[in-house]
């Protein structure tokens, strides 16, 4: 099932518009469609964390932001693709730098780690037309977790 490609160009409203999309999909799932609502919530969280990262940290220079989101449900997996025309960055390196450095009860720096923890096959690469593409998969009935130290 392909839930379509959705395009956004306003960084000020992209988060609310994506949430509105997910609300519709959650209602669809709760109406009896063969979509796991829990998994859909994890996709929403992952997409939110990525978009929050784009809104707060991405460099678009003089370009008008172009962000697209695509969702595809295949059996027990949900595939998500988010493209953007920012300058991009090395996600793998950022994750490596953060790994193991998480402090007890952290206030910042958890976003990419949460994205990584709740997804399978996470990848962010430059593609044609000066764009970058994030792809990830969420698998139904998994119980992923991010280790946060709860002691001081």
């Amino acid at each position: 099932m392909n839930l379509g490609t959705h395009r956004f160009s306003d960084l000020g409203t992209v988060i609310d518009r994506v949430h509105a999309l997910f609300s519709g999909w959650e209602e669809f799932a709760l109406s009896g469609a063969e979509v796991d609502v829990q998994a859909l919530c994890r996709v929403k969280l992952a997409a939110h964390e990525w978009l929050a990262n784009l809104v707060q940290h991405a460099t678009f220079d003089a370009r008008c932001p172009e962000i697209s989101l695509q969702l595809r449900i295949e059996g027990d997996r949900i595939d998500c693709t988010i493209e953007d025309n920012s300058d991009g960055f090395d996600l793998e390196e950022q994750l490596m730098q953060r790994n193991g450095l998480i402090e007890p009860y952290p206030e910042r720096g958890m976003g990419l780690l949460m994205l990584n923890a709740c997804t399978d096959e996470l990848d962010y690469q430059p593609v044609d037309d000066n764009k970058n593409r994030l792809t990830f998969t969420i698998t139904v009935n998994k119980d992923p977790w991010l280790e946060i130290p709860f002691h001081t």
């Binding site: 829990q38 969280l45 809104v55 206030e107």
Partner: protein, 112 residues
Amino acid sequence: MNFQIEPCNQETLVVKIEKALDFRNAAEFKTLCQDQVRSGAKNFILDFSDTGILDSTGLGSIFSLYRQVSPLNGQVVFAAVSRPVQVVVQLTRTYKVFRQFPSVDAAREALV
């Protein structure tokens, strides 16, 4: 206004989180809670019944509150946790730190 406060007594209050606690309003939440702690509050019931997103920055602001109230023997508890918030609680295993109650009334009974 993203948050509504309902005092239970001098030390305990309910904070209703509306649609979101995320990078856009986490600083506001933090300031609001700091003000309440300065005024004598130490037990916080967070009502997540209508919350569609709790993100990493929002969770960070709750950790900040926890750091403030735990030396005062205060508590931060979650009430009426919505499905999207439960996903974050489960992912980060924060149920180990923040007790959860099925409703605000149940949390109020336990804390007041």
